[in-house]
């Protein structure tokens, strides 16, 4: 089935550094999402993105967070600077239109460890 790829699968960084998480969404999908999952807890919505703009963001999407998809390449989540509480697994998702509207396809996650 359709695949969403995330790079890196795991990143360890020091608090205060910048990190960029990359997502290669399903081809031809136009809507993109980031979710955050702290170990053993539920998935929390961060942000969704369409046509070069943030459509909606949650209170978890702090000012240090930003998203972009330059020139139709990777959809990225940047955190600058990072904080200890940013340690989590970040899942990217994308969706298309048509018969499967509403169904999101998730990547395998990028585990971020902030020391």
């Amino acid at each position: 089935g359709p695949k969403v790829l995330q790079i890196p699968s795991h990143q360890i960084i020091d608090m205060g550094q910048m990190v960029t998480l990359n997502c290669d969404p399903v081809s031809n999908h136009l809507y993109f999402y980031w979710y955050k999952q702290i170990l053993g807890q539920q998935m929390e919505f961060l942000v969704n993105f369409y046509n070069g703009k943030v459509m909606e963001k949650s209170k978890l999407f702090k000012d240090q967070f930003s998203v972009e998809r330059p020139d139709g390449s990777y959809f990225t989540l940047k955190i600058q600077p990072t904080a200890l509480e940013d340690s989590a697994v970040y899942f990217c998702a994308s969706r298309g239109q048509g018969a499967n509207t509403g169904q999101l396809y998730f990547g395998e996650g990028s585990k971020l460890t902030v020391l």
Partner: protein, 114 residues
């Protein structure tokens, strides 16, 4: 805003037994409902989805779920559990006017005993 409650944090069953994982949602209108499964160290995989129509939906690997508007529920069932079903199961709800972003429950961890 919509919400999802999965009342059972952990369910333990014997291999071959039947299974029901409970999910209650809160939303005034008709939602889209999903069950996802997360195997260890993996992402979410869609098991099944409900769009307005037949209340019983069939998914992969013998899973099915039934939508009940009167009970605001979308319970997941399987007739005979296999050890490979050991995973965490998430129920999610989304609405057409909400960017389709799913709101997830806290998940139910399924443990399968031989």
């Amino acid at each position: 805003a919509q919400s999802v409650t999965q009342p059972d944090a952990r369910v333990t069953v014997s291999e071959g037994a039947s299974l029901q994982l409970r999910c209650k949602y809160s939303y005034f209108g008709t939602p889209y409902l999903f069950w996802y499964v997360q195997y260890p160290r993996q992402g979410l995989q869609l098991l099944l989805k409900y769009y307005p129509g037949d209340p019983v939906v069939q998914g992969v690997n013998g899973f099915e779920a039934e939508f009940s508007k009167s009970n605001s529920s979308f319970h997941l069932r399987k007739a005979s559990v296999h050890w490979s079903d050991w995973a965490v199961y998430f129920c999610a709800v989304s609405i057409s006017g909400g960017n389709y972003k799913p709101t997830f429950g806290k998940g139910t961890s399924l443990v399968v005993h031989p």
